[in-house]
């Protein structure tokens, strides 16, 4: 069937273009899917959604980083940065997602869910917070590892740099990354939003009705929080990585990212 076929095509492509690393990336994707399923399973068995979110995000964090890139200074500082930002996002999600009453499903989605019993004994508003956190975790790991990886290379090339210099360099790189990452998030959101938008237009929803609808707010707040977490993780990763590199005498480990980081470094140094 179609999903299976697509999954196979992706595997073939990732192997062809990425080789062994491609295979690892593919496996990490599946591992992350498994973690999501695990989260769903635990919540259905009674684990409080927020707790499941915390544990799930930790697992995702550790797994994606270490499996894809090994255990080294870069992944370590990334992991720490992600955890720090997750803490902040945790508070923010509870306030915004919790406050906005975006749990459960909205009237527009009734047709899709009416066949099921709604007596499920799970706190859906809390699940909304969970969804926001999981989405944010996945998004910010990419930005974080790119920055810590780059800083590692920059430090290797020029070990005499002070923490402040490294930090500023990291921020420079981060700014460019930010644009493209938020673009990725934004388009992924828009892809899903197309159907909704058509619905809104068909039924002539006013702007006020759209903004206040559960179905819109859910998606919107989720994507905003993902984007926000990417923005926050940038300075946090820069500070933590530059600190580890300069103050704790972290050794350079594998130089796999050397070429890319070196290029980026020279480009932004030029700017």
């Amino acid at each position: 069937m179609m999903i299976l076929a697509l999954a196979v095509v992706l595997l073939i492509l990732m192997l062809a273009i990425g080789g062994k690393r491609g295979l690892r990336s593919y496996i990490s994707l599946f591992a992350n899917i498994l973690i999501i399923l695990l989260i769903v399973y635990s919540v259905s068995k009674g684990m409080p959604p927020f707790f499941a979110a915390v544990i799930g995000c930790m697992l995702i964090n550790v797994l994606t980083l270490i499996f894809n890139n090994g255990l080294n200074i870069k992944t370590l500082s990334s992991a720490v940065s992600v955890i720090a930002v997750l803490a902040v996002m945790g508070v923010l999600s509870v306030v915004i997602a919790g406050g906005a009453n975006i749990g459960g499903f909205s009237p527009e989605e009734y047709a899709a869910i009416c066949g099921y019993s709604f007596n499920i004994g799970i706190n859906m508003p809390d699940v909304a917070v969970l969804v926001v956190l999981v989405g944010a975790a996945g998004a910010m790991i990419d930005t974080s590892i790119a920055i810590s990886s780059f800083l590692n290379e920059a430090h290797l090339h020029n070990p005499a740099q002070t923490m402040r210099e490294l930090y500023l360099s990291g921020m420079n790189v981060g700014r460019d990354l930010l644009g493209t990452t938020t673009n990725t998030l934004y388009f992924a959101f828009l892809g899903g939003f197309t159907t909704l938008l058509i619905w809104f237009k068909l039924y002539s929803y006013s702007a006020g009705k759209i903004i206040n609808s559960n179905v819109f707010s859910q998606e919107f707040i989720r994507i905003i929080c993902s984007g926000l977490s990417c923005v926050l993780v940038m300075p946090v990763t820069s500070i933590i990585t530059s600190y580890i590199l300069t103050k704790t005498g972290g050794e350079a480990m594998i130089k796999r990212f050397k070429d890319r980081a070196a290029e980026l470094f020279r480009e932004w140094l030029r700017l």
């Binding site: 697509l6 990425g18 999501i36 019993s117 709604f118 899903g192």
Partner: protein, 367 residues
């Protein structure tokens, strides 16, 4: 404190004030709504009854007795009270707390008020405001440009949907929109130069191949397993398949653009710093870069597309439907978007690489 720092500080302060003003405005914009809004002043909650769901899951229903004050319209200032029943889970209903703003409506038939939905605009606007401020503070000029490009894309997108609803086949405005989005977004980020040109070209070709592959797979497997019914709430006489393909197109575009610009920026940099670098060596470096991004970017796509399905998954599981059945059946749309997006992004790695090398090399030689 140097001048640039002070100037940035001032801009940020002004922005912060504007954003706060927007949020506060939202809190008190009752007058702008035609529907009646009331602010809850007190809630008393009692257990109403208990129901049992699939797998004998117990669900408690609560009755809320709510007192509220109307904030707009002809009944402004009037105190009202109404009741509602909410479930413990909140799958299809919601409860309120003191201080919440709620839409209410009066039914002449029953002679009473009832709740009609939560007023969320404050939260939506606050979230957006936080994001905008963070982008401006951390991202500075590039952050600002990024948001400008997002805004432009949204406007064009809504316009494209309008065209669709007027009867034009969705794929035409979609393809035009794709070209437009790529060009505009990349131009705004990176300026008008060969690097951007290479990236745009790579994006378009990558997207083309992505959709080509998707269409082949669709033709071969005939949508089997993809339940386009989950779009069913859109009602009849709309061709879901076209919308589906349009969603695939747009969903993957961001990731493809990201890869394209990464490739072309790196290639340009390498060529500038080492004018004598061989093509073979460029390709080798490019491949390494590609492998680095592949893993994390596909993960970003995964989480963005799939995390929203978690509530539905829970609903299914609690109704005794296995998760695999759910994934095959309902999450197929999100999964398809994730898989095609990832296919597109992986495919764009070699394409972006080769196009950049070709275009940038040519540029160098004519200089």
């Amino acid at each position: 404190m140097d001048a640039a720092f002070r100037k940035r500080g001032i801009v940020l302060c002004v922005l912060a004030v504007l954003l706060c003003a927007a949020v506060i405005f939202c809190k008190y914009d009752y007058g702008f709504y035609k529907k009646t809004i009331a602010t809850v002043t007190a809630v008393t909650e009692t257990v109403d009854h208990t129901e049992y769901g699939a797998r004998n899951i117990r669900e408690i229903y609560y009755r809320q007795k709510i007192s509220a004050v109307i904030k707009n319209g002809k009944n402004k200032g009037e105190s009202i009270s109404f009741t509602l029943v909410r479930s413990e889970s909140g799958v299809n209903d919601e409860g309120y707390r003191a201080g919440n703003d709620v839409f209410v409506s009066f039914s002449t038939a029953s002679g009473s008020w009832s709740a009609d939905g939560f007023k969320r605009d404050v939260y939506v606007v606050s979230a957006a405001a936080l994001f905008i401020f963070a982008m401006a503070a951390v991202g500075r000029k590039k952050g600002f440009l990024s948001m400008v490009s997002v805004l432009i894309n949204i406007i064009v997108f809504t316009w494209a949907i309008d065209l669709y609803l007027r009867g034009i086949n969705i794929l035409i405005p979609c393809i035009a929109a794709v070209v437009f989005f790529s060009a505009v977004s990349l131009l705004i980020f990176c300026g008008w130069n060969r690097k951007t040109g290479a990236a745009v070209l790579a994006t378009l070709i990558g997207t083309g191949i992505e959709i080509g592959i998707a269409l082949i797979v669709i033709a071969a497997t005939g949508y089997s397993g993809v339940v386009v019914e989950s779009m069913q709430f859109l009602l009849t006489d709309i061709d879901y398949t076209d919308i589906f393909i349009a969603e695939l197109l747009i969903g993957g575009l961001g990731a493809i653009m990201d890869i394209a610009i990464t490739m072309s920026a790196s290639m340009q940099e390498l060529m500038e710093k080492n004018p004598d670098i061989t093509t073979a060596s460029l390709i080798k470096s490019g491949k390494e870069i590609g492998k680095d991004v592949m893993g994390t970017m596909t993960n970003v796509l995964l989480f963005t597309c799939i995390s929203g399905s978690i509530p539905m998954m829970l609903l299914m599981v609690q109704n005794g439907i296995g998760i695999t059945a759910y994934m095959q059946h309902f999450a197929s749309i999100e999964f398809s978007r994730f898989l095609t997006g990832s296919i597109g992004l992986v495919v764009t790695i070699p394409i972006g690489l080769l196009i950049s090398i070709r275009l940038l090399r040519k540029g160098k030689r004519t200089v």
